[in-house]
């Protein structure tokens, strides 16, 4: 039997993330950052945060399919979308948003892609869920929920409305 975290729980997490991110931006003196969501789930989360923080620069979106490290094993993701960065990343403070942080490989790919667009001043990582079990030295600056899952379990964000987290954890 799966466990479902509904819209309500996610809204709470998003509220907490907004507050935490806002405080972090103040502490690091980050003004007018460029927020970038990772397709597809990360973009949904980024849309909420972008709105609640009332950021000025338009939201960017990246699809990391062409930067994955498992292309030779699993081939091209057929649902690949264009990356769209409405603003140069050069010398900007980037807030990178994803839905689930797991092995860290997606974030590695996203950083590589971002740096092909230019040299950011800083990158802050925000995720809705951290499920542990990292395989690369990556950590998130702001985390909505921490889930302790075994490798057999999956967690998936469905959306965009309503947002729901589905796991097959018992």
């Amino acid at each position: 039997m799966g466990q479902k975290l509904t819209n309500v729980g996610i809204q709470q997490a998003l509220q907490g993330m907004t507050g935490e991110l806002s405080a972090l931006m103040k502490e690091k003196n980050i003004q007018d950052p460029l927020m970038v969501g990772i397709h597809t789930g990360g973009l949904w989360i980024a849309e909420h945060l972008h709105k609640s923080l009332a950021l000025e620069k338009p939201l960017g979106e990246i699809d990391i399919s062409f930067y994955r490290d498992d292309f030779t094993r699993i081939g091209l993701n057929p649902q690949v979308k264009p990356s769209q960065l409405p603003h140069s990343v050069e010398d900007q403070h980037i807030i990178l948003v994803d839905d689930v942080l797991y092995t860290g490989r997606t974030i590695r790919a996203a950083l590589n892609e971002l740096f092909d667009y230019g040299r950011p001043q800083s990158v802050t990582l925000v995720v809705l869920v951290d499920r542990g079990a990292r395989e690369l030295p990556v950590h998130a600056d702001v985390v909505g929920l921490e889930l302790d899952l075994s490798p057999r379990n999956q967690v998936k964000l469905t959306g965009p409305t309503p947002l729901a987290l589905e796991t097959n954890r018992n």
């Binding site: 062409f66 498992d70 081939g75 769209q84 092995t103 092909d116 667009y117 230019g118």
Partner: protein, 339 residues
Amino acid sequence: MSSSDQTASTSFNAPDCSQIQLNEHGRLHHFLTPQNLSKDILTEIMDVAESFSSVANQAVKKVPVLRGKTIVNLFFENSTRTRTTFELAAKRLSADVININVATSAASKGESVLDTIRTLEAMQVDMFVVRHADSGTAHFIARNVAPHVSVINAGDGSHAHPTQAMLDMFTIRRVKKDFSKLKVAIIGDILHSRVARSEIHALNILGAKEVRVIAPNTLLPIDAKALGVTVFNDLESGLDDVDVVIMLRLQRERMHGALLPSENEYFDRFGLTEEKLAYTKSDVTVMHPGPINRGVEMAASVADGPNSVVLQQVTNGIAVRMAVMTLILGQNRQVVGAE
């Protein structure tokens, strides 16, 4: 240019590429002609090309997706434009590219082509991009390469030029969105044009409302109607109410005998001028695969005019070729647990 295809254009029967192009999972393995491919596959090529179009906006115009792959541009016929865009596409995918131009002699071609292929295969090549003056060469090579090696046809005689057709479809889709409402006219040397054949196939597969060809009878294949087109011999009636005009280059190097009275007379009757353009829809899109013979196929004012997308075609050609290469080399992979 080429001297080896004296008669290929008029007597050529297209080989059936439909089986060999797909792997056992129904995915693209070689790209030889759009003929007999599904609408889904052609649409997927355009969708993936859309994603690659953003790579040109990067400071580093490169993605690592085909790192470690080796692609050989094997050109038996001169072409700067097509070879350059294939080369650039492969490089933007981080593949290693080798360009080989082979001067061909018609008499020994069968054996020498295979020898060339075997030699390159022994160097662990993953893909051949082949252009040849003889129809069917890419198909012949595809049938003879090792199973893990793929072939893209970059133009074979008068048969097919699938990536040119797909970049034109991609360009049309970006401007017009929906193929089902479109009347498209292809004008000029249909007889010798591999571009025209591939475009007619692609437009019909994608469900264009009407595909027209406009040409003098001497530049039309005998069975033109069998391609699924409406045939016109004059611009005025052929251009009436069309949404897209695709001009073809007069392939003087392929013409043998008196197919045309003179270039001036051709321009008078079939050259696209602003005056003639008035017969089309006002938001008509004008295309040309290049290189343009200005003042022969079209007036300079039309080629450089507001309806022309000639330069977008060139830009889109890179993204479309990146898409085809990635889709092909991204197949056949064993599925293991992704993150």
